[in-house]
């Protein structure tokens, strides 16, 4: 009897444990998605999406463009990496865009994007993109969805806190993640002389108000540490810029331990208006550097690369009132300013809280000199004096925060893999939703401007594991779309992304689609090798250079038979697409070419360089299915041995006299 009771007791205990286990099993994503989600992301075939979403490509070096809410991929814009599909970095016209002080670089690491703003609101003109590895900033023209300009940043390494812009697109900033010896000083120093020789810089690149053309104005010199992310002030904080920093320990090795020692690192408050005044009054030190500035012209359909040899450096500690440091717990990453411009949110990657700083309090502290010593000659404001408050126990590993314009903030948590919605005013947590898995950045359309769109939120996840059909060891990263129009965030969809998405931007489609270019006007084509009509097509030899002035129109090239090219010649195919109708590109490829194809838009001229290495017949053809007779759009180039005297001839639709005489025999 006793034994039976004991057995029963064990059974009951076991059942109890099972019940407990079952009840504690977390909900699967199947439970998370509501039934109404499908209708919210369904965009009928032929209908347009509500928003454009520009997503950084990370290690792909490119920028992708998605439609929201459908998650449909609309375009991948080549920026910092070559793209043989589009001839980017392979055509003679685009090669200079990838030029740097190190020569031509075929790859970049593209992390953050910022849409141009007017009065703190998205104006839909340009998109700025940073490159981490070889510090550069690109400007993408949203009329053409192409990279219009790339500027290299000297005195920098790991251009991470970039390309964030001021609220009227006066400046794009670029901060060094890696502090390094300055370009104008001897860099051949021991690595362990970090504290003495390594410096950080914050660069201010001015943007011309009408053309958008960038120019490196000045660089602020700061103590050596890691500058991570940044955002511009707005409203009351307009004229200020905020940067997060870590490694205030100034470690140069095993940073995961050595840069995590101090309880607090810093958020930097930079009075850029004051820096601008200082610079414009002719102060600052002119130093010799070398950096490339590359501009693409839609008139000449060509890029030019200029090397610039000087910049102005302003040592922050020499100018009182320029820069202040605010202690921020545990290696802050995200540095985000709310739509009102009053609150600055720092996200300590290792912190168990989120500090929210008040701009008004920062100003009071500065006025009262409420300082806690200095760091590298820069005053450090007392943490409590700058603090609006802390969000307690928000989650693990806070990274980035965006805003809905209704007083709420949304923060990603990498470690606990979730998004947490909280109210800025009273720092109360309102909602939390899991992401799949481990989000880095998140994005609310206009979420870093004065006027967030506030309907959707997209989380960009680093890990996807079981979310999609497996594709071997290498898996896509993902975007997850949430509806944030209600009190609770609702997961609507998730879809894979290109490369590794970091920060993203989005804007209502109408802001951008109305300006989208359909064709390049042939009349405006100022390419030095343009062929304005088939009658003008020709082949010209200049020494060992052969220039082919060719046209493409449905469905032939003119000329399409070329003879008299010799082994070792440098052949330049300058192809002008004569079409003047929307969506009629032509492609061009030649057998054995060691670069790539050309993809030529209507009214555009692009050039492919080809050095034939052996004699024979080399076909050329159109690579873009342009028309019903696309397969007929082809031709031949005859290559004769070096030094041969085959005459240079070219034709379309007729045989050469040599061939005719052969046929009549």
């Amino acid at each position: 009897m006793k034994k039976v009771n004991q057995k029963l007791a064990y059974c009951a205990l076991f059942a109890g444990i099972m019940l407990f286990v079952i009840s504690c099993k977390p909900k699967s994503s199947g439970d998370v998605v509501g039934k109404e989600a499908a209708s919210k992301v369904y965009v009928q075939p032929g209908q347009y999406d509500e928003l454009y979403n520009f997503v950084s490509g990370g290690f792909s070096g490119q920028v992708s463009v998605y439609g929201i809410p459908s998650g449909r991929l609309l375009r991948v814009i080549p920026v910092f990496s070559v793209d043989p599909e589009k001839g980017w970095g392979y055509s003679e016209e685009t090669k200079p865009m990838l030029n740097t002080s190190h020569g031509e670089i075929p790859w970049g690491d593209q992390h953050h994007l910022d849409l141009s703003q007017t009065n703190g609101e998205i104006d839909g003109r340009w998109l700025f993109a940073n490159e981490n590895n070889t510090p550069r900033v690109a400007r993408i023209d949203l009329k053409t969805f192409r990279t219009a300009e790339i500027i290299e940043i000297p005195n920098s390494a790991g251009n991470h806190s970039s390309p964030f812009i001021t609220d009227n697109t006066e400046y794009v900033v670029a901060g060094t993640r890696f502090s390094v010896p300055m370009d104008y000083e001897n860099g051949d120093v021991p690595i362990d002389s970090y504290k003495k020789n390594f410096k950080g810089t914050l660069s201010f690149i001015s943007v011309a108000p009408t053309t958008g053309e960038m120019s490196l104005s000045f660089q602020l010199l700061l103590p050596g540490m890691n500058f991570d992310l940044s955002h511009s002030g707005k409203g009351p904080s307009s004229g200020w810029f905020f940067f997060s920093t870590y490694n205030s320990e100034q470690a140069h090795t095993l940073l995961e331990v050595n840069a995590s020692k101090r309880d607090k690192d810093y958020i930097l408050a930079v009075n850029w208006k004051k820096a601008e005044e200082y610079f414009k009054s002719g102060k600052g030190k002119k130093v010799p550097v070398k950096y490339a500035h590359n501009v693409y012209s839609d008139e000449t359909h060509s890029a030019t690369s200029n090397m610039i040899n000087e910049t102005t450096v302003i040592d922050a500690k020499d100018v009182p009132g320029l820069v202040y440091m605010i202690p921020c717990p545990k290696s802050p990453h995200g540095c985000d300013v709310d739509p009102s411009g009053e609150y600055i949110i720092g996200s300590g990657k290792l912190a168990a809280l989120i500090p929210v700083f008040s701009f008004a309090k920062i100003q009071q502290a500065i006025d009262k000199k409420d300082f806690d010593g200095e760091y590298g000659g820069i005053p450090v404001i007392k943490y409590e004096s700058a603090l609006h408050g802390e969000v307690k126990k928000p989650g693990l590993g806070p990274l980035h925060t965006e805003f809905d314009g209704k007083g709420n903030a949304y923060t990603t948590f990498f470690i606990s893999s979730e998004i947490v919605k909280w109210r800025i005013k009273d720092l109360q947590i309102l909602d939390r939703q899991p992401t799949f898995y481990s989000p880095g950045h998140l994005m609310i359309p206009g979420g870093d401007t004065k006027k967030p769109y506030g309907k959707y939120l997209v989380a960009y996840n680093k890990i996807t594991k079981d979310r999609y059909l497996p594709t071997g060891p290498e898996l896509a990263q993902s975007a997850q779309l949430f509806d944030i129009s209600g009190d609770k965030m609702k997961l609507l969809a998730d879809y894979p992304s290109i490369g590794e998405p970091h920060y993203a931007q989005a804007a209502p489609a109408s802001l951008i689609s109305k300006n989208s270019l359909k064709i390049f006007k042939l009349d405006h084509n100022k390419h030095p090798f343009v062929t304005l009509g088939e009658r003008e097509s020709k082949v010209v030899r200049e020494g060992n250079k052969v220039h082919v002035y060719a046209t493409a129109i449905r469905s032939h090239f003119s000329p399409d038979n070329i003879e008299g090219v010799r082994v070792g010649d440098e052949v330049y195919f300058h192809i002008t697409n004569l079409e003047q109708d929307w969506d009629v590109p032509h492609g061009f490829a030649v057998k054995g070419a060691k670069n790539a194809e050309l993809l030529i838009m209507p009214g555009e001229t692009q050039t492919l360089k080809w050095i034939p290495l052996k004699p024979g017949i080399f076909p050329i053809y159109c690579t873009d299915f342009c028309s019903a007779l696309h397969q007929e759009m082809q031709g031949y180039v005859r290559v004769s041995p070096a030094g041969s005297n085959t005459p240079l001839t070219f034709s379309l639709g007729k045989n050469s006299s040599e061939a005719d005489s052969l046929l009549t025999k």
């Binding site: 449905r554 469905s555 003047q580 109708d581 028309s627 019903a628 007779l629 007929e632």
Partner: protein, 199 residues
């Protein structure tokens, strides 16, 4: 008034109709007379060929580009002497209408109406002739050759030509031209109707 008509002179109403007709024709000079609309799966937005008294307009280059597949001759304003003559002919009718008002004779009005209708018929015959010529005289080396197929657009109305649907109709100027003709006709018939009423 009837007294005037019986003398072979024009009534005020007739003069007004003539004046309106002349004003209408002034607008005809600057507006497109005729349009051929083309639609295909690849052109959901449609293509249009507009015929003004003095020129071809609309998507001429795109249509020429497409027509080369079937070997149709490319369309150019300069190839049609009509575009030189038409403005003068329309101008001539404007002048005639005003002269008829000034001359104030029923007889001249009848001549004007006959002339105007004749011109309309000749214009349509000429249009048909060109349509026929362009639709039938195809390049024998054309890429697309469908046995027995010609590509003559309809004189008026809708016709399917391979993947394109062609819709040929008067444009604004054409409608005003027709309106001007009706006004002239009304002016001519006015005395007949008023006589019947009074009889």
């Amino acid at each position: 008034m009837n007294h005037d008509i019986s003398k072979g002179k024009l009534s005020v109403a007739q003069k007004l109709l003539l004046l309106l007709s002349a004003i209408g024709l002034v607008f005809v000079l600057i507006l497109p007379l005729w349009r051929i609309e083309l639609a295909a799966p690849q052109y959901p937005e449609g293509l249009v060929l507009k015929m003004y008294p003095q020129k071809l307009a609309g998507d001429v280059d795109i249509i020429n580009g497409l027509n080369h597949y079937i070997g149709m001759k490319t369309l150019h304003t300069d190839d049609f002497m009509e575009f030189t003559v038409l403005p003068y002919i329309i101008g001539f009718f404007i002048a005639c209408a005003i002269l008829v008002i000034l001359a104030n004779k029923q007889k001249y009005l009848r001549w004007l109406v006959i002339g105007f209708i004749l011109f309309g018929i000749i214009a349509m015959v000429d249009f048909y002739r060109w349509n026929y010529a362009y639709g039938h005289n195809l390049n024998p080396n054309a890429a697309i050759q469908v046995p027995g197929m010609s590509y003559q657009p309809p004189l008026i109305g809708y016709k399917k030509l391979l993947n394109f649907g062609a819709y040929s109709v008067p444009d604004k100027g054409g409608w005003i031209f027709i309106g001007s003709g009706i006004l002239l006709l009304m002016a001519m018939l006015l005395p007949t109707f008023s006589r019947k009423k009074h009889a």
